[in-house]
Symmetry: C2
Subunit: 460 residues, 2 copies
């Protein structure tokens, strides 16, 4: 009959070891980690970047719709700023309105991997984004909106894109849709991919092959590794040597299902003009009490971008965020305290977030109206308890100076009890990592902290 088919094993059990080996390697083939500042300086010199605030009236191609007040590009592409109303099912008196970024298309965030000297390396890019602190940050190989790769910019082709849209003879190591910021984006997700190639790959000047261990070293620095790189690394097929967990995977999924069933929000897009507490002048769209964030416009000039200059709106938060996991060891196995976090812009409403996720200047969660019971433990932590702390930017293509302080903080029974309050659950890093292989479990802030663990920037 037919030729015998060769079956695959469902899981490649060797792959996590290859990632572990790369995480344990801090000497890469194409650059020493310590040479990154020099390389960045060189790239900065090669491309002149300049970003300056402009009034909305100078945003060519973009306009506020006379009827709805929505801010959109004349082509209907890219993204728009619209209004969102969120009605909590159990308490409509907490109904909430805000502007939100609407961008239904799915972009690709892809990291190309290749083995050198028996160690996986990842092709990272020195990429400018207008909202990033220092502008230039370490980015995935490819960071392409759908508009980018169908070339409606009319710009040059995105480098290395074919590895991700025609994986053909390359090997996909990770590939899932992941949500982005649920309080700034309406139901936005991007495709997070890691693809291994066996080809010879020409290394462009803006790109370097780094080991996971090198990226881990860089994750300990402020504002070097961009959000897109962090979220892709959170989806890496990493496993953790853990003897067990406080809760089985079934209990964990059941807890999340409970949270998703009980915390129902009805989000609905509204015309921006219908938002009660937001006001607009020619320089910004802002909350009347200057809370949350404002929308501004910038002009960008750059040499190595798909197009050499453009103007666009950006969302600028009022202050830095604080996103932290409290950490404890149970039965010798490290656990992080995860919050079931409801956000109006998340398609599934609830995803797993850090223990604390807030802008401390605002103190309270807009949805729950409550101050996190763990915020003081994080803000007042004894430095000896801080296992990790670094400042990172959120997506610099949409957010202006959206810095967040990311922390991993050791806690004790008094600060973070083994039986936490409703809405919180202890997970091992291994449990969190296996959920991040699927869509819509782990939110973007928690994924940054997971990337810190996956790259072994910190070992708990």
């Amino acid at each position: 009959m037919a030729i015998e088919t060769v079956l695959e094993t469902r899981e490649d059990t060797e792959l996590p070891h290859r990632f572990a080996r790369s995480a344990a390697t801090t000497a890469g083939v194409s650059m020493r980690t310590a040479d990154l500042p020099a390389w960045f300086a060189e790239r900065r010199a090669a491309h002149r970047f300049r970003v300056r605030p402009i009034p909305f009236s100078e945003l060519d191609g973009w306009a506020f719709d006379p009827a709805t007040g929505n801010l959109a590009h004349r082509t209907g592409r890219y993204f728009s700023i619209e209004g969102l109303q969120v009605v909590p099912d159990d308490d409509p008196s907490r109904t909430w309105q805000q502007p939100i970024i609407v961008q239904p298309e799915i972009g690709i965030l892809g990291i190309l991997a290749k083995e050198f000297d028996g160690v996986l390396h990842f092709l990272m890019q020195a990429k400018m984004e207008p909202g990033n602190t220092n502008l230039l940050q370490l980015s995935p190989t490819v960071q392409a909106t759908h508009s980018n790769y169908t070339r409606i910019h009319g710009g040059s082709r995105v480098k290395y894109l074919d590895y991700f849209i025609r994986p053909g003879r390359h090997r996909v190591l990770a590939d899932a849709l992941q949500s982005e910021h649920g309080s700034w984006f309406f139901q936005k997700s991007n495709r997070n991919m890691i693809v291994e190639t066996f080809d010879e790959v020409p290394q462009d000047d803006d790109f370097r092959w780094l080991t996971l261990g090198q990226i881990g070293e860089l994750l300990r620095l402020d504002n070097v590794v961009n959000m897109d790189a962090r979220t892709v690394l959170s989806t890496a097929p990493t496993t953790y040597a853990e003897a067990g967990a406080l809760h089985s995977d079934t209990d964990l999924l059941s807890w999340l299902t409970t949270e998703r069933s009980r915390r129902r929000l009805r989000p609905r897009l509204l015309p921006l003009t219908r938002l009660a507490e937001w006001e607009r002048d020619d320089m910004s769209l802002a909350h009347v009490h200057r809370r949350h964030f404002r929308v501004v416009a910038v002009a960008v000039e750059a040499g190595n971008r798909e197009v050499s200059a453009w103007r666009q709106p950006l969302l600028e938060p009022v202050g830095p965020g604080t996103h932290a996991f409290l950490v404890r060891s149970f039965g010798g196995v490290p656990h992080v305290l995860v919050a079931a976090r409801a956000e109006g812009g998340l398609a599934d409403v609830v995803e797993l977030g850090p223990t604390v996720q807030c802008h401390p200047r605002e103190h309270t969660d807009p949805l729950s109206g409550e101050r996190s019971p763990f915020l003081d433990t994080v803000l007042n932590a004894d430095p000896r308890r801080i296992r990790y702390a670094a400042t990172h930017c959120e997506e610099g293509g949409r957010f202006l100076r959206a810095e967040s302080r990311y922390l991993l903080v050791d806690a004790d029974e008094e600060q973070a009890p083994e039986r936490p309050p409703p809405g919180y659950h202890w997970l091992t890093p291994g449990q969190l990592a296996s959920l991040a292989r699927h869509s819509r479990y782990v939110n973007v802030q928690a994924r940054t902290l997971l990337a810190v663990l996956n790259t072994r920037a910190v070992r708990l």
Copy 2:
């Protein structure tokens, strides 16, 4: 220091064996399978059920909104019939409009499990639903809308509900949100639960403890096991002894991510009055060419329901559906040919469906405009190739006489090639079952076929 914490293993590896043992057992403790007709007859006699069509004008409590034309209950609860417009991103000329059921709340479909004589049994209910063929079908222990269990019906308490909303000292074996029919419901999902108890449980007259093997026997009959029971059983923690698979789990997830990225639909609710091709008289809301389905109203009288009589709208499809997996063995391991199926009402747009899923009277898929390339293979299958065929009803609380023919059909290379056309992928039953533990991977039609496999109604 602290008392030593006892950790759990992440997976209970014994559990699948307990399900397998129950599937292999066709002699249960509370009823012989052959006695089901007598028990059903007895329950029918104990409760008089009657369902009759009524004009919309006699639907007390329900009305068409004068402005929108939407059909809703005066309390705003239960569900409503609204309009839906679906715009495919890649081809707006295929924009599609239809009525759709909107019911944002999450209900509970729960089966209580308990071990008797070392074998897991499941507490199944003889339950009447107005749209079911024969009215009475075998149902989960609990089938409760949020309205049910918060008792806005003002009816009696749902029996056994506490096992599911206060699982406390019971043990959750499966618990995930699962989508319902994406062409009839707008982003509807229900919580599918299996909970094991160690308590003595009083067995009400409308309930019987059955093994998985008994339920498998009953799944071979037409119109006995209702949709809610089938979907819960599809989420059972069943494993399959498989030496491998044609594609690794990573490749499978990557394929699905590709399909989800490329097949973008923009669904938007519209007022029912804005639908171009639908017309309403006092007896029905129907397509001008009598395609797809119609919405009708019924009066229900029953004795064992939460309330003794009610009136409600139901959606009545124009003809029976055909939902089939083509089946092949590769390298000695059975595989089913899964379709990445886009439906306007699915929150994630694309889920995994059967090879063929359609109403053959309509021939073409409304979204793709195409006839399934596998439909003829299913409809004209040599009877010796049909491994499973039975007729089952879709949810009888929302759909009237929505019968579907479910099939598993052996195929060969010519009928179903090892490299199928785009949009199709070969999965093992074990791969499908592990995805069904998570939300939104396996659609409701594929879940019926998975339940057939999980209960070993058929062994491939």
